[in-house]
Structure formats: structure tokens, C-alpha cells
Symmetry: C2
Subunit: 310 residues, 2 copies
């Protein structure tokens, strides 16, 4: 039969021996005096005899207690230095590598990285600013600990934890006729030249798939490689653009405004990570902080889109 002590039992004994008082020891361990008294009694039960000789005014070790002291010191020293060393190894010098679509990177990461750095200042970050498909590949190949992406929900090799629903919106100049409307229909966009990203872009694929379901065809006049270039052309007055909300200017912009489009088309942004492979401690910790920070801000019901391969 093994003896199932708790570290707190040993710490209680050590604290009493060093403080010479149950009350002082209780304070040192953030316990009440009765709680500490019971811890000592529990240890005495485990060991099989009294460890302390005490009156209401005096505490001293018994012979058995004196015999136990070096063992308790050794056990706690080894446990503390060993476990702290391991916990430190989980953090110190560690690097978290993330594959993020750019819009997500700038929106999600700064505040969370700031919080994280308060707790584990030595962890470094490597942020792969990639397209959605490239980011997904990086996660699948193990080149990134995890990614923030809007693709992956139907990929069996990765898990997908949604963070939020990001709607596609119209971006146009303030003096554009459509700017006068509080919201626009997809049909309202027909008369105007549209600026879009390339057809291999994840956003483009997503949008066109959604619009096909709504029986809507878009007239693309300008095709660019990056979403930020889209906004440049809109600002120059060459057309309007349909962009994810997070890709548009946050807050007031002197020239560009955004308008919601109905019927509403959204993309789900979430955390993608390779299945069956635990994250390194620092990455795991960061992931938890990310979810903790943004889960409260989910704009729609959190949707579990993680489904097994057929």
C-alpha cells in the first residue's frame, strides 16, 4: 500500500517547524489555522505518529518529526526545483509560430500578445502572414503551431475552433451614390464596376460560392492580389469593392465608408490546428488566451463546424 501524501501536507509541516506556530504557518500558506491543524493531523496519520509536540503556546518537533524533517525538505526542494524547471522549459526560449491571414493577424493578435507577454515575457512569436490556403498548408505541414484562418472547417486533417463570424461588406467612396443607403442589396451593385482579388484567393472562392447559392453574379472589372490594394482603387474612385468587414478600415475614414449587404454573407474565422498533435506548452497557453479573449466577442452563435471525414 502506498502513502498518498499531498505536497500541501508536507509544506504545512515544514512551515510549522520553521515558524514555531500553527497560526504563523497557516498565514504563510494562506490557510486558516484550523485547516493547517488538520493538515498536520492528516500527515501524522499517514506517518503513523505525532510529529509535533504542542501546547497552546509552544510547538516543538517530536523525535519522529525531527526524523521526518530532512526527508520533507529534500522532497519539496526536489519537487519545486524540478517542476519549476519543467514549467520554465515550457515557457523560456519558446517560440510560437502562427500562420495568419493578414486581416486576422492585425485584428486578433496585438491585444492578446500583449496580455500573453505579461505572463511569459520570454516567449517569442513568429507570425506567418499568409493567404488562407497557404496558411492552411503551413499548419498541415507542421510549419506553424496553429493558424487563424477562415478555411479549414471541412479539412479532416485539422481542427477548427471558430472565433467569430465576419460579414462581407461594401466599401465605396463617401460621395458614391450607394453611400447614401444605410444598407445595400447585392442587386444594387450591378450597375457599378467592382474591384476584386484574384480568383485563387480564399476570400474570392468563399464569396463566389456563397453568392452562387443566392443566384447572384458579380461583374468584376479590376482584379488585384491583395485586399489592401482593393481599398486603394476604391479610394481612387475606380469602383466599389466587396470585402470582409475586418479588411476594411476600423473606425472613421475620410474617404471610404462601408455598408452592410443583404442577404448577408459571412465567413467564419477560427483557429486551425493539426489534429492529434498536442501543442507545445507556450502555443497551447497562447491558444487558450486567444479563445478566452475573443470568445466573448463572437458576433453570432458559436457554430461547431468541426465534423468527421465521411
Amino acid at each position: 500500500m502506498s502513502i498518498n501524501f499531498e505536497a500541501l501536507d508536507l509544506r504545512a509541516f515544514l512551515a510549522v517547524a520553521e515558524a514555531g506556530s500553527f497560526r504563523a504557518a497557516a498565514d504563510a500558506l494562506a490557510l486558516s489555522q484550523p485547516a493547517l491543524s488538520r493538515r498536520i493531523q492528516r500527515l501524522e496519520g499517514l506517518v503513523g505518529g505525532p510529529l509535533l509536540e504542542r501546547t497552546t503556546r509552544r510547538v516543538a518537533l517530536t523525535a519522529l518529526g525531527r526524523e521526518l524533517m530532512p526527508l520533507v525538505r529534500r522532497l519539496l526542494d526536489e519537487a519545486d526545483s524540478g517542476l519549476f524547471g519543467l514549467r520554465g522549459a515550457a515557457g523560456r526560449g519558446a517560440r510560437v509560430t502562427l500562420a495568419c491571414v493578414p486581416t486576422a493577424a492585425f485584428y486578433f493578435l496585438p491585444a492578446v500578445i500583449a496580455r500573453f507577454t505579461e505572463q511569459l515575457p520570454e516567449v517569442r512569436f513568429r507570425i506567418l502572414d499568409l493567404s488562407a490556403t497557404e496558411g492552411l498548408d503551413a499548419v498541415s505541414r507542421g510549419e506553424a503551431d496553429f493558424g487563424i484562418n477562415f478555411l479549414g472547417a471541412s479539412d479532416a486533417a485539422v481542427s477548427f475552433d471558430p472565433l467569430l463570424e465576419d460579414p462581407f461588406v461594401l466599401a465605396c467612396r463617401r460621395d458614391h451614390p450607394l453611400a447614401a443607403q444605410a444598407r445595400v442589396d447585392w442587386a444594387d451593385l450591378q450597375p457599378y464596376r467592382l474591384v476584386t482579388v484574384g480568383r485563387e484567393s480564399g476570400n474570392r472562392i468563399l464569396l463566389e460560392t456563397a453568392l452562387a447559392r443566392e443566384n447572384v453574379r458579380m461583374r468584376w472589372f479590376y482584379e488585384v492580389t491583395h485586399l489592401s490594394t482593393s481599398l486603394g482603387l476604391v479610394e481612387a474612385g475606380l469602383g466599389v469593392s466587396v470585402l470582409p468587414r475586418l479588411a476594411t478600415p476600423q473606425g472613421e475614414h475620410p474617404i471610404i465608408v462601408t455598408r452592410p449587404i443583404t442577404p448577408r454573407v459571412t465567413r467564419t474565422i477560427g483557429i486551425v490546428a493539426r489534429r492529434g498533435r498536442p501543442l507545445a506548452p507556450a502555443a497551447q497557453r497562447f491558444r487558450e488566451l486567444l479563445i478566452e479573449t475573443w470568445a466573448d466577442k463572437v458576433l453570432a452563435d458559436k457554430v461547431s463546424v468541426d465534423r468527421p471525414r465521411p
Copy 2:
């Protein structure tokens, strides 16, 4: 901040590592599989990272887990051998020394020693068969772990835990006139020759003190050193005797009978132990068993006669 692990956490981890299976490890530790799974999760939380990489069919240590293994082995080995060594010291080769008045020794001890020996067969007993005053001195001087005595209740140097109230009764031959009565008064004893023990005897002192309060004088014809000799003289027909109930034959005796005497005079038999000095583990254990065995058989309400020195 310290890490408050439990020995069971460490044992769970070790068991899984050795068994290669949560279920097998759970069996080894007499836990259910879910309980063991949670123990592992708890340890991973304490350490700050995953210790095991597992699917439903395969369990392997992570790098962090491999790093933790030697520390866990060392901690548990040290704790187990150290604590078992101490627990053994509490039991093995131990000797319990008791100072008992003879009547108590034969009445109280046999059954309890039998029970005790079932649990700790290697503990030896030394029973000092002493008079009450000698027994009290032996306890006070530390020559005995504790004593069973009817003196000591008002002695500040010892604690007194009552076990039972033992009344003084009349012992006479079956053919004696007093044997015809169901009970006798102290006055009924006046016409007869009394056999008693020496005036330095604790029983004698106790009895005379009690009778003085009842305004009763005794006519002692025979004075002997031991209570057992009293019974011999009664049996020989030389007189009657007043003895503690426990000193008289238990059960049927062909020649001697006992009769209760009114008003009732009793002595309180209890455990006396030196104050402020914890008992050695085996003695403490025996004392607990003694109380446990006999506390249920207290003939009168348990009386707390232990009072502080003025």
C-alpha cells in the same frame, strides 16, 4: 507560488508510462479510467504542458513527459522508502510499557492486546503489575508509557481518562448469613470480622475516605498485602471482605458470593498518562484501542474528573 501536487498525481503518471495504457494504469491504482484520465490532466495543468501523447489506441510520453519521468521516479522512491521507514519505526520493535493495578490488568488487557496484536504483531508489551501508588509514580517518572489506575484524577502531572466506575462490594462465603440478602448496608457489616488490605494501599485509602463521608467506621480484623489473599481468607471462613467488584471472581464461584453495598461506593478506573508528552506511536495506538474497546462498556456516565491544578 508553489506547486501543490499529490502523490496520486505522480503515481498516475508513472503508472501510465509503465503500462502504456490509461486503463491498465487505472487498474493498477484501483481507480476508474476516467478518474485516472483526470489525474493526468491535473498533473499536466500543474506542470504546464502535455506529458503524454495519446490516441484511443496508443500512449507515449512527450518530450516534456520524458523529462519529468526521472524526477517523478526519484520523488516517489524517496517518499515511499522514507515514509515507510518512519512508519515502520513507529511499529517495528516497539514496546509498550504499562503500569497497571493488577485487577485492571487482568480485566482490561487480554482482549485488547489480542486485537492489537492482529494489527501490529511485532509490538511487545511490558506490564508492570504494581500497586496504584507505585503505578502512578512509574507513569510520572516516565518508566511506563501510560498506566491503568484508579488514582491520578487529581494529580496535575498526569492526565486521567476514565474508563469505568468500579463499585466496592461485599465478598463472603455462600453459607454466611449476609449471603441471604440481595444487598447489604455498611451497618450490616458491623458484627462481622473484616479482612482488609494494608492501610498504605490505594484501595484502602479510597475506601476509608469514602466511608468517612458516609460516617461509617470499619472493624478490620485481618490485614493482608494483596487483594487475592483477602479472597483466600474469606474462602477459609475467617471473615468477610470489602473489595472492588473487579477484584472478585467473575462469574460463578463454588464458595464465594458477592453482594452490592449501600450506599454505593465506587472507584473510577482510567488511563493515566504523563501530561504534555505525546505517546510513542504504538502506545498511542494501543491507548486508542483500549478506549475504543472499553468506552462502550462504561457502567456509569463517563465523568470528566481531569481538572487543572489550582
